[in-house]
């Protein structure tokens, strides 16, 4: 290959100038023995040595003491010679001994007369390495969470990351979901009614958003999910996506519901409404009457009134240990509500001591009719109904 010597000299000047402008890299020329032969601003910036200090020094000064002692310098030069070029990463030392994580490209240089040393390009990757390690540790952290779905999706709702917990929870593997819209985990009603949009807007506005609802697995089955949605913002504070953490609470929900059902059943058992005659209901009250039970009792009584079109209801209190003003208030409210629907009430089972204590407590039952026994109360109920029916018949005859 014929090389014009003048051109080489000019090129050399040009390259030297170019290398001098590089500050992010150190571009160093070593001779065949690995001694530093050129230096520039980038190299000084990276290592801290000035040209006067370093030119003529062996490359071993850049290596850690252990590496240098183990013959790494010679080994690297040999590898570069054999393979023309060698790319490595490793710890190197600055002036003063501070280590940095370096990416090093070592290239054997040849001229017409044979080997002419090495070109060494060094880059400081310490910050990048820290960041990479941080990212990797976060990723490992997320991946080690097997019971939680921790995923990331962008502002458009497209899934960007997926963890083993998400796979365990939903049955999808990463390849099946990354790039797909998160609405695939919502049932049709929720997806179309904008539940997801509301969750995303809420999270972006409040900094975090917690919700519960049914979500869909790959096999089509559903699970009751508790989700926490947090927005991800970039350095400028712009919304860059969301992180979603989801838990499967199906079992807990089922247990809650079972407890609620059993509680309802117990209440149901404790507030029976009996139809004793056409249009006559009896509500035998047994045990203590707290406000929860009283509300439930009023509700079931009124529903039965509506269903049976009952005209009279008998509230039998013979099984209630004592009537205080609270219980009396509950009873009167039930009577009022029944009257609003058009049904008359009769109190029955009032014992002498109950009558005394009620009057002493100043409990006023208003116009509520009262009888001592259920039999008397039933007779009164039938008379009331007869009277009404009679007027109806009369009216019918007249009309």
């Amino acid at each position: 290959m014929a090389v014009d010597p003048v051109a080489v000299v000019e090129d050399l000047a040009y390259y030297t100038q170019m290398v001098n402008t590089i500050t992010d890299y150190a571009v160093i020329h070593l001779d065949n023995e690995g001694v530093v032969r050129s230096w520039h601003a980038g190299a000084e910036h990276l290592t801290g040595y000035t040209a006067e200090e370093i030119i003529g020094q062996p490359a071993a000064v850049f290596y850690t003491v252990a590496d240098a002692a183990a013959g790494r310098v010679e080994a690297d030069l040999r590898t570069a010679t054999a393979a023309d070029s060698q790319v490595t990463e490793g710890w190197r030392l600055r002036k003063g001994g501070a280590p940095y994580w370096a990416s090093v490209v070592l290239t054997a240089v040849l001229d017409q007369s044979g080997p002419a040393g090495f070109g060494m390009v060094v880059r400081d990757l310490t910050a990048g390495r820290e960041q990479a390690l941080m990212l990797r540790s976060l990723e490992q952290l997320v991946n080690s969470i097997a019971d939680l779905e921790v995923i990331r999706f962008d502002c458009d709702g497209l899934v960007r990351s997926w963890n083993p917990g998400a796979q365990k929870l939903t049955g999808y593997v990463a390849e099946e979901v990354i790039g797909h819209h998160v609405s695939m985990f919502y049932n049709e009603d929720d997806a179309s009614s904008g539940v997801l949009d509301r969750e995303m807007t809420g999270a972006a506005r409040d900094g975090s958003m917690e919700a519960e609802g049914w979500r869909i697995r790959k096999d089509g089955s559903r699970f009751w999910a508790n989700i926490v949605l947090s927005p991800i913002r970039d350095d400028q504070g712009e919304l860059a996506g969301y992180v979603k953490v989801a838990r499967d609470l199906t079992e807990r929900r089922e247990q809650d519901q079972l407890v609620q059902r059993q509680r309802d059943e117990i209440l149901e058992l404790s507030t029976p409404v009996i139809q004793v005659w056409d249009k006559v209901l009896v509500l035998p009250l047994i045990g203590t009457l707290d406000s929860g039970r009283a509300a439930r009792l009023t509700e079931s009584l009124l529903e039965r009134i509506a269903a049976d079109q009952a005209e009279v209801v008998i509230l039998d209190i013979s099984g209630v240990p004592g009537i205080d003003s609270g219980v009396a208030q509950h009873l009167l409210e039930t009577v009022e509500a029944a009257r609003l629907m058009g049904t008359e009430s009769i109190l029955s089972g009032v014992r002498p001591d109950t009558a005394q204590s009620m009057v002493h407590l100043g409990i006023d039952l208003g116009g509520l009719r009262s009888r001592t026994s259920l039999r008397d109360a039933l007779q009164l109920a039938l008379r009331l109904i007869d009277a009404r029916a009679g007027s109806r018949d009369e009216a019918g005859i007249r009309a």
Partner: protein
């Protein structure tokens, strides 16, 4: 307003069916319409069906009690029908249980009550004459 009420004639009685959302303006026109209809037809009773009213709160309860008083002033009896269980409970909780108003479970029962009230009244008047 025709949107919020319909009045039907059943013999000597009127059946007033209220529905929808009752606000100040509609209430005024309902009162106007019901009173003028009772007067025009010399109705003996008015049964007000509220089963189609969206919300029955203490305001509507007051309106109903007022309507009943107006009808009575015009010489007719009035009763309210169609209060559902949940509505009855909430009215009692609100302390708006309309103590002077007659209520009924069904239109049939309501009509019977109107007639019975009329019968009671006429008996009382007859008694008054005799004694």
């Amino acid at each position: 307003m025709p949107d919020h009420s319909a009045i039907m004639h059943m013999g000597q009685d009127l059946l007033v069916i209220l529905h929808g959302d009752l606000d100040d303006r509609t209430v005024e026109s309902i009162e106007r319409e019901v009173t003028s209809e009772v007067a025009r037809t010399s109705a003996r009773g008015a049964l007000i069906d509220v089963s189609g009213v969206d919300v029955i709160d203490s305001f509507v309860a007051q309106v109903l009690a007022r309507l009943v008083r107006m009808v009575r002033l015009l010489g007719a009896e009035a009763a309210i029908v169609g209060i559902r269980p949940a509505v009855a409970i909430s009215l009692v909780e609100l302390g708006a249980s309309m103590p002077d108003v007659t209520t009924a479970l069904s239109a049939e029962q309501g009509m019977a009550r109107l007639r019975r009230m009329r019968a009671d009244n006429s008996v009382r008047i007859d008694h008054g004459k005799h004694c």
